[in-house]
């Protein structure tokens, strides 16, 4: 991005947009970094009015401490060596000799400890993004630049330990390996600009670093599922021709790229990403292939498996239905450009990636691209149970189709758990930001917005978990509201589509009436392109098409609420059966 483009983005931002304020803490003049960071955030949040403010020149820790006192919601921290000890900057005019090195090491250790303390002291809910030193150390070491001296290695170790500490606190840090690929180390530092104006970053480096920091502060929504072809994609060879024993993914047959791809998919599945298979093949042959114990992606990790001779687009359709997610949250990988085009035409929004065969450079790029598309900042318990939960849903739907609704629900042994103390639970926000169909108004929140909502004196948060005899669904619904006298004003309500058809939404409302002792519930409803299921539910509840403000009285609710067979667990462990 050029400075001109960044300024244009900022000048074109909506003047009346809801503010999104970010404090940029760094010990140097952050001119370009500030402009680019604001521009990238503005691009990520086009309806908001982004502002990036800066703190005191030369005092990083104090800036962070002041931001903590000010109650900053979003904080980007760009650390450079001179912030850890001014003698490690080029502007310091310090004496560089070996006798000062032990003192510098001690100073850096203390500076990092103070930074750690300052960051730990930030108010709960502050969204923080950190970059560790990106600029070269000054040349005051005894060794030549191609040899790592002991003090340099000790400095690097201290910074790495600091980064590990921050990561353990779930604070996102710019990946130095990523930055090295995007911003060449020898093109990062501008000596003249640093000495004349205190601007150490080249424009190019400020641009790349700002992009990375913006991604940490406002992560893009990650994809939810990957649908893969088998022949010449998951493995090398056509299984129908060479047989299950003839397919390869080993180094000897020069098909190691397939092994890497399998490993990545297995790791995705482990992290709660859905992996499905769409292959034109004989299902019996494929079943045999998946019995091979050396396959890195095990059969139970992939669901559903669409293996037949029908069009791939129909396979994708069935997989999306089983997962109950939209095409734009899914990636489809196949070695055939024709199959990719057929699926892309039938499912607008799906991301199609061609498996690159033996083009290793393209293969490396594909693996990296997949990591970026599916990367998430934190893993939750739900990530580990997602696949089981989807299998459970499929079993639930099959069983439901075989009996009458009442007898089926009565025998489901459903347990609904309500948690009212989940303000720090990242899963609640994740659910709000990823749910489209049963979503009251489609409003998305940044982490800092969410923290701000929860800090409202009348805010009430209810997180719902569910399980039944078919298995555990985990946390599946979130209600955020304000209690105003005898009314609960619901600002956000989402429920995972996996939890449909279980009457959990009714249980949620009953618990709201019961726990909060309110006589009516107001909903901030807004129709979106995708929240038809929620709209239908509200229509049923109030007996008319919902407008922007929907009011449900307790009396009306009792009239329309069907029989509920759930065992309810909450802080008071009461049951609302029947």
């Amino acid at each position: 991005m050029r400075v001109t483009d960044a300024l244009k983005i900022l000048n074109d931002a909506p003047k009346t947009g809801k503010p999104f304020e970010v404090a940029l803490a760094c010990g140097f003049t952050p001119l370009h970094l500030q402009i680019f960071l604001a521009a990238y955030l503005q691009q990520a949040l086009p309806s908001r009015r982004v502002t990036v403010s800066t703190g005191l020149y030369g005092s990083l820790a104090r800036t962070i401490e002041e931001e903590a006192e000010r109650g900053a919601r979003n904080l980007a921290i760009a650390i450079e060596w001179m912030d850890l000890d001014p003698r490690l900057g080029y502007r310091a005019s310090a004496v560089w000799d070996s006798s000062t090195l032990p003192d510098i090491l001690s100073f850096v250790r203390k500076a990092l400890e103070r930074l750690t303390g300052s960051i730990e002291g930030l108010p709960s809910g502050t969204k923080v993004a950190i970059s560790t030193p990106t600029l070269p150390l000054p040349p005051f070491f005894h060794s030549s630049s191609w040899q790592m001296s002991e003090p340099e290695s000790l400095l690097a170790k201290m910074v790495t330990e600091f980064a590990a500490k921050m990561a353990s606190l779930a604070i996102p840090i710019v990946n130095t390996a990523y930055l090295s690929e995007e911003s060449a180390p020898d093109l990062r530092y501008d000596l003249k600009s640093d000495l004349l104006f205190g601007l150490p970053y080249t424009q190019g480096h400020a641009d790349k670093l700002a992009f990375a920091l913006s991604r940490l502060l406002c992560p893009p929504n990650s994809k939810k599922g990957i649908i893969t072809d088998l022949d010449d994609t998951l493995w090398s060879g056509l299984v129908g021709e060479v047989g299950p024993e003839g397919i390869r993914w080993d180094l000897d047959s020069h098909s190691g790229l397939h092994a890497l791809y399998q490993s990545l998919l297995a790791s995705f599945a482990e992290h709660g990403i859905l992996v499905g298979v769409a292959s034109k093949n004989d299902p019996k042959v494929v079943e045999k292939a998946f019995e091979r114990t050396d396959l890195l992606l095990h059969k139970e990790r992939a669901f559903p498996m669409e293996v037949h001779w029908q069009a791939k687009s129909s396979s994708v359709e069935r997989i999306l239905r089983a997962w109950n997610i939209s095409a734009d949250t899914v990636v489809f990988v196949d070695d055939s450009p024709m199959e990719l085009a057929e699926v892309a035409a039938a499912h607008p929004g799906i991301e199609c990636i061609q498996f690159p065969g033996r083009d290793y450079a393209a293969g490396y790029d594909m693996l990296r691209r997949l990591r970026d598309l599916f990367g998430k900042q934190k893993l939750s318990t739900e990530d580990h149970i997602r696949l089981d939960s989807i299998r459970q849903s499929a079993k639930f739907q099959d069983a439901a189709a075989e009996s009458t609704p009442e007898s089926f629900l009565q025998d489901a042994k459903a347990i609904v758990h309500f948690d009212f103390e989940s303000s720090r639970d990242a899963r609640a926000l994740e659910l709000v930001n990823k749910t489209n169909q049963f979503n009251l108004n489609g409003i998305r929140y940044t982490e800092s917005d969410w923290a701000s909502e929860l800090s409202h004196p009348n805010a009430e948060l209810m997180v719902t978990s569910y399980e039944d005899r078919f298995g555990l669904l985990g946390k599946i619904a979130v209600i955020l509201g304000h209690l105003e006298g005898s009314t609960l004003h619901v600002r956000t309500w989402v429920m995972s589509c996996r939890a449909f058809a279980r009457r959990i939404e009714y249980v949620c409302l009953r618990i709201c009436f019961d726990r909060y002792g309110v006589r009516q519930i107001n909903f901030d409803f807004l129709a979106t392109e995708m929240n038809g299921p929620l709209r239908e539910f509200l229509t049923h509840l109030v007996g008319q098409t919902p407008g922007e403000q929907v009011t449900l009285t307790q009396e009306r609710f009792e009239q329309v609420c069907p029989a509920l067979y759930h065992t309810v667990e909450d802080a008071r462990s009461r049951s609302v059966n029947g």
Partner: protein
């Protein structure tokens, strides 16, 4: 109005969005409190983006008004 002047005006509009369009021609460090050293560097960056030449930071103190910036740019572009 010549083409170069229009483009320089556009650069000023980008860096100083609060200055009314009619006042840009009279803009100077003396009249615009937002024209500090940081804004001066930003202006240089934007002019570099627009005209595709590199400016030397040493000349910054002399470029303290719209007229002077325009004159400098014309010298660089027209030789």
């Amino acid at each position: 109005m010549d083409e170069i002047q229009k483009r320089v005006e556009k650069c000023f509009e980008n860096v100083f969005p609060d200055v009314p369009a009619g006042e840009i021609l009279h803009c100077s460090q003396a009249t615009n409190p937002k024209w500090d050293s940081i804004a001066a560097i930003t202006l240089v960056n934007v002019i570099e983006d627009e005209f595709g030449f590199q400016m030397d930071f040493d000349i910054l103190p002399e470029l303290n008004s719209f007229d002077r910036v325009l004159c400098y740019v014309k010298t660089q572009v027209q030789g």
